[in-house]
């Protein structure tokens, strides 16, 4: 497994997912402290299972959590590490040093737009276990997750690493072309291997545990045949660019062809030298046409040639040095084993005795061989079977195979043996020839009983039982006991060192001792199978590329562990048993008369049905159709690797103890625990805040104060030049033709100077396109039709990650002016699958109308800021007040703690002090003060009090109302809607007034007072983290010439965001405290003289929208 560099993070470590964790993360990042959030769950927003069982679970709670999610998840201080685990936690100079690992992430959450195109193209999307899924509904990102398990056993078993699972999945989906492309990617000879491969994949197939292995080879053959029947000539893309370096390949058998193909594909100029008159090596010379029709062989070799490989037949290479001298940069020797082994018994030179390879070569290449009426084949391997069946076809009356092995150990594939028997081949087993006898020609073969005797060194030897001798009448013998390389015959042994069996000696990189000369296939390994030879050829090609370029071998033969996370899923018990189909064969008595193909292959329906039997062990089959779907977005990478990380954490917060490597960690200092979600969500959230508050003390040094950007007031009086951008959501929104019509329609609306389609608005490249067009066409108003529904800097319950991201790209990264953007959510309305083009255009036209109206009524959205300090006043002692004060003190705040003896609710009276605040450096204790008045706003509160009969006045940036008795001084508890406001955001401490906090009585019933104090401190630190208080972009503006000072706006605002101040001529006028404002516009609706108006939903705009909506298409009729 290759891994990236270890990431080093300095942050508070948060372990586990869930609502409590979310609250922790929110409090910390919003207070300016970086958080590394590690959870084993696949998505950091996935919540603990079973949470729905909570008694007070409001049906729309998921929605209510959205703003919180979105605030946290795209926060720059959050390092999200989902699907990750802590491996160890040791001590460091400043707290803990935590080592961990994150599983590979196959879909990049920063790029994925959630368009879902990948799922549409995934062949397994409709299966019971789709590999690409969206996270649960409560998750406000639409991002997708790819489930990729350990590599399938079939693929691992294949020497070439052909992705059988993928082509089975595609075949099952009827996508034969793509399936064949998957095969060809790793195996350029699918039609050949579909016939003659010994299919180790099937041997490993897990389906055999249930019934029978999937007929993978037959499906491969079907795919190649399907293409051929369709009249398609197979072809490979020629290499994109040629590289310097010519490579010579000696031998055009499976190893040579494969090596040549892959070298060519990598851009090298390859010449293959073949001594025989036709290319194919053993494929042609050794394998008969009734097993491998010449047509198949020819077209697959031709495909390799057509892609640029030169095959020079009839050329025997006698010197590799000569080739190197000729200008080849490297030579691959893949000459195979063309020489037959001999028995070395008497009579072996009698006429009528043939060697197997030369016999088959004569038949297959020259059509010159002849056999006798009584033919005996010596040996029981696959070549022997070929020889025996060929002899039958050449007219032998009887063919007998003599083999040493017993039936169960025959080296030939059982299928070959069976087919030979069916055709009439007789077998004499457990015997070996000892002599050939005959006068002028062969007459009989003398045999005796024999067996293999293994030696301790691993070799084996034949033991003959001379007592039990018999003879077989024969006029023809074919000796098929094995082959060897024939380097000697062509003189290459002079240059290339050879070993046992005349094989070329190579190292693990297929290199011979001669520089630039490599060897692969049977010539180096001794006789093997087609697919093994091909694999060796490809691997050698990889070595040659490394040798020539220094690049890493580009060919992929994964092991089980190379990719994926986790093991195969269990085989479902509900799986129905089903046998594999028998591929049809011609009748033995018919087929043995000719050289036509024996096997007829599967039909399309059979192939699909058979492919469906595949268990899809890796879940994701890695066909990579999704990558093609995501080409423009680039979010999918099947080859991601695990990420190692180290976190220097001053504190650890544990939201889920089961995710810890060691439960003992919980007992250590600076490790805080968030309550489990058992009873009440509020408990968990409160507990999260308390943990965050306590961690802040340890992590105070990591805090980074954020300075909000202050925006200039945009002058929107310039010419209205509208640019229209339509996000096609990676071509998933609707048909291209429909969207082009919408684009053209918009292009004709009054004021529109530019109209274009975008691949994606939430993707960085999409945002770049907008910025570029805005500059090029001097666009002054942008109408962006996507899924984004407002250009504002806030998140609501219908917002999601993509919308947030689009805004971050446009307004934060690229700095485009919000005021000039109208964003309209078309996606949610146009997604319907069955909409015709006309319906799409009509619907879009209808939805876009309002946007073009708005583009003409834009008002500046401005952002101001007010500086605030760190002076906090805590009104009310007791352990909550003390704990809060102490915590804030340790975080660097300056605190005035006012103990009020007149209070009956002061917890101080109920229990002894547990919190010792004497340690605080910056706490000013005020004893026995009676608070008289609290007024002002965040950053500028004034508290009037009396102490010992004297009037006192204190200034504070932030006020904490810890005891009930002072509440009425600061808050009108009966203000409209106030009680409701406590329902959401889990704002146990928030009041409608920014910078003023209170402790709800119910808090005390839930957590210890010490914890409540810490949680309160966390909220204070959060609100003070940005040294500046930001305005709300939607805040209304007051026209002081219009305002009558009637105070209706003041009456309706529960946020203290509006007040009457002296204005014109002794009258009063409304003034908006823009940072208290939440932008609801209630005051605007109440103003009898429209003296208040909002920049985004102005009165004028709303009226224009109503007028336009009721006027039926005025916007488009006005088109110029």
């Amino acid at each position: 497994m290759n891994t990236r560099e270890r990431d080093s993070i300095e942050a508070v470590l948060l372990v586990g997912s869930g609502y409590g964790a979310l609250k922790v993360a929110e409090d910390l990042v919003q207070s300016g402290i970086p958080v590394a959030w590690v959870t084993a769950r696949p998505h950091y927003l996935e919540l603990p299972l079973g949470a729905e069982a909570l008694a007070d679970w409001p049906a729309d709670l998921d929605y209510q959590f959205r703003p919180l999610y979105l605030r946290v998840t795209r926060h720059p201080l959050l390092t999200a590490l989902p699907q990750a685990r802590i491996l160890s936690a040791g001590n460091g100079t400043n707290g803990f040093v935590v080592e961990g690992e994150q599983d590979p992430r196959y879909i990049d959450y920063d790029l994925c737009t959630g368009c879902g195109k990948c799922t549409e193209l995934c062949p397994l999307n409709d299966s019971e276990r789709p590999p690409i899924t969206r996270r649960p509904a409560q998750c406000p990102t639409r991002a997708l997750v790819l489930d990729k398990r350990a590599t399938g056993a079939c693929r691992v078993a294949c020497p070439l690493g052909v992705n059988a699972q993928a082509y089975l999945a595609l075949t099952a989906a009827g996508r034969f072309d793509e399936a064949l492309a998957v095969v060809r990617d790793a195996n350029p000879l699918p039609g050949i291997c579909g016939r003659v491969c010994h299919h180790p994949c099937e041997t490993e197939c897990r389906r055999a545990e249930v019934d029978e292995a999937v007929a993978i080879r037959d499906i491969k053959r079907f795919l190649a045949d399907f293409e051929a029947h369709a009249g398609v000539v197979p072809s490979f893309m020629p290499p994109a660019q040629r590289r310097t370096g010519r490579v010579a390949v000696i031998g055009s058998g499976p190893a040579g062809l494969t090596a040549a193909h892959y070298l060519n594909r990598q851009g090298f100029q390859v010449t293959v030298f073949e001594s025989l008159p036709q290319a194919g090596g053993m494929l042609r010379a050794g394998i008969n046409s009734f097993r491998l029709p010449r047509r198949v062989l020819d077209i697959e070799i031709r495909a390799i040639e057509n892609a640029g490989v030169t095959i020079q037949t009839g050329t025997t290479v006698t010197s590799v040095q000569a080739l190197l001298a000729e200008g080849f940069s490297a030579v691959l020797l893949a000459a195979g084993t063309q020489a037959d082994l001999q028995l070395g018994i008497p009579g072996e030179d009698l006429p009528g005795i043939n060697a197997c390879v030369s016999f088959l070569r004569a038949v297959n290449l020259y059509g010159t061989a002849a056999v006798g009426a009584k033919t005996v084949v010596i040996g029981a391997g696959n070549s022997a079977m070929d020889a025996a069946r060929t002899a039958l076809r050449l007219g032998a009356a009887s063919v007998t195979v003599v083999g040493i092995e017993q039936e169960s150990q025959l080296p030939a594939h059982p299928r070959e043996v069976r087919e030979a028997r069916e055709e009439g081949v007789a077998f004499v087993l457990g015997a070996a020839p000892v002599a050939f006898e005959g006068t002028s020609a062969l007459e009989r073969v003398v045999c005796c009983k024999a067996r293999w005797q293994p030696h301790p060194d691993g070799s084996q030897e034949i033991v003959h039982d001379r007592e039990d001798t018999f003879s077989l009448d024969a006029d023809c013998v074919i000796v098929a006991i094995g082959q060897r390389a024939q380097l000697k015959e062509c003189g290459l042994d002079q240059e290339i060192e050879t070993g046992p069996g005349g094989r070329a000696l190579i190292d693990t990189c297929y290199a011979t001792p001669v520089a630039g000369v490599f060897a692969a296939g049977d010539v180096a390994s001794g006789p093997s199978t087609v697919v093994e030879a091909m694999a060796a050829g490809r691997a050698a090609a990889g070595s040659i590329i490394e040798y020539l370029t220094g690049e890493v071998c580009p060919f992929d033969t994964p092991t089980r562990e190379t990719r994926g996370v986790g093991d195969y899923p269990d085989i479902p018990e509900s799986l129905l048993r089903r046998r594999r189909p028998d591929a049809p064969q011609r009748l033995p008595r018919v087929r043995c008369r000719d050289f036509d193909e024996v096997d007829m292959g599967l039909g399309a329906d059979e192939a699909v049905a058979e492919a469906r039997r595949c268990l899809q062990c890796s879940v994701c089959c890695e066909c990579r159709a999704c990558e093609a779907a995501c080409e423009q977005i680039g979010a999918i990478n099947h080859f991601s690797s695990a990420r190692q990380f180290t976190i220097a954490a001053p504190a650890i917060i544990v939201a889920d103890a089961l995710e810890l490597p060691d439960a003992g960690l919980l007992d250590r200092d600076q490790v805080f625990r968030v309550a489990d979600l058992k009873h009440d969500l509020t408990d968990v959230m409160l507990s999260g805040s308390a943990a965050a508050g306590r961690a802040m003390v340890a992590a105070a040094k990591l805090r980074r104060a954020a300075v909000p950007r202050e925006t200039d007031v945009e002058d929107l009086s310039d010419e209205v030049r509208i640019g229209f951008f339509l996000c096609t959501c990676n071509d998933t929104l609707a048909s291209r033709s429909a969207l082009e019509r919408v684009r053209d329609l918009a292009g004709h609306v009054r004021g529109v100077v530019h109209s274009q389609l975008l691949m994606s608005a939430c993707h960085p490249a999409g945002a770049d396109l907008i910025a570029e067009a805005v500059g090029r066409h001097t666009i002054t108003r942008v109408v962006l039709a996507s899924c984004v529904c407002c250009p504002l800097e806030f998140q609501c319950i219908s917002c999601n990650d993509q919308r947030t991201r689009a805004r971050l790209h446009l307004f934060e990264r690229l700095g485009l002016p919000r005021s000039r953007f109208e964003t309209i959510n078309l996606r949610d309305s146009l997604l319907a699958e069955r909409l015709s083009d006309d319906e799409v255009v009509d619907k879009a036209r209808d939805l876009l109308r309002a946007s073009f109206v708005r583009a003409r009524y834009m008002a500046p959205l401005t952002q101001g800021r007010t500086e605030i300090g760190k002076q906090v006043i805590v009104l009310g002692g007791g352990d909550i007040g003390r704990s809060c004060a102490l915590n804030l003190d340790l975080q660097g705040f300056s605190v005035r703690l006012v103990h009020n003896p007149q209070l009956t609710t002061d917890p101080l009276r109920r229990q002894p002090h547990q919190v010792d605040t004497s340690a605080g450096n910056n706490i000013t204790h005020v004893e026995s003060a009676i608070i008289r008045d609290i007024r002002g706003q965040m950053g500028d509160f004034t508290i009037h009090a009396r102490q010992d009969g004297a009037a006192r006045r204190w200034r504070a940036d932030i006020v904490c109302l810890v005891d009930e008795a002072v509440l009425p001084l600061a808050l009108n508890e009966d203000a409209p809607g106030l009680k409701k406001l406590y329902r959401y955001d889990f704002a146990f401490f928030h009041t409608p007034q920014a910078g003023m906090f209170r402790v709800l009585p119910r808090t005390l019933e839930r957590v210890q007072e010490f914890e409540a104090g810490a949680a309160l401190a966390a909220q204070v630190a959060r609100s003070a983290a940005e040294a500046f208080l930001k305005d709300h972009l939607l805040s209304p503006r007051v026209d002081p010439e219009r305002c009558r000072g009637c105070g209706r706006c003041v009456d309706i605002c529960p946020f203290n965001a509006i007040q009457l101040v002296p204005g014109l001529d002794g009258l009063y006028t409304a003034e908006v405290a823009r940072h208290n404002c939440v932008g609801c516009g209630g005051c605007v609706g109440r103003c009898p003289v429209t003296a208040l108006d909002m920049p985004y939903f102005s009165n004028q705009l709303l009226e224009a929208l109503v007028a336009d909506a009721m006027a039926g298409g005025k916007t488009y009729n006005e088109a110029s």
Binding site: C789, I797, S798, D828, I1052, G1081, G1085, A1109
Partner: protein, 141 residues
């Protein structure tokens, strides 16, 4: 016959979420309905509702949060008050009060919203045209 003109005024919070979800899940909305969004139903005043009728709406529906769900506190109550007042005015004008309705939703109630919108559309269609003719039609006469 002329299709009815229906206006929906939708709060940005729960009801807008319902609408988004309805769109995502291919739920069909009444074709004659136009929807405009506001931050809170408390944002709109009586004038806007009256103008909708003046501009030719045959029915207006306010889509709002439940009283206890308002993010800002008083929104739905303001909505109720506005509806009561405008309905009284409509009644004086001889315009059926049922042409103005308000419905509240939680964020997950997309199906109920779609049902309510269809009910609304069907009821208004059954009522026929609003007797107060929009200006362009009056001009045509």
């Amino acid at each position: 016959m002329k299709r009815p003109n229906l206006l929906g005024i939708c709060c940005n919070w729960s009801p807008w979420t319902c609408l988004n979800a309805a769109g995502r899940t291919n739920l069909e909305l009444p074709p004659d309905l136009r929807i405009i969004r506001v931050m809170c139903i408390g944002r709109i005043n009586q004038a806007l509702i009256l103008k909708a009728f003046e501009y030719g709406a045959d029915g207006v529906i306010l889509l709002e949060c439940r009283d206890e769900d308002c993010r800002y506190g008083p929104g739905p109550e303001v909505g109720h008050a506005n509806v009561t007042l405008v309905r009284s005015l409509l009644d004086l004008l001889g315009i059926d009060q049922q042409r103005l309705v308000e419905r509240s939703f939680e964020a997950h109630e997309k199906d109920r919203m779609v049902t309510e919108l269809w009910n609304f559309a069907e009821r208004i269609e059954a009522m026929g045209a609003n007797p107060a003719k929009p200006r362009q039609e009056r001009e045509a006469v």
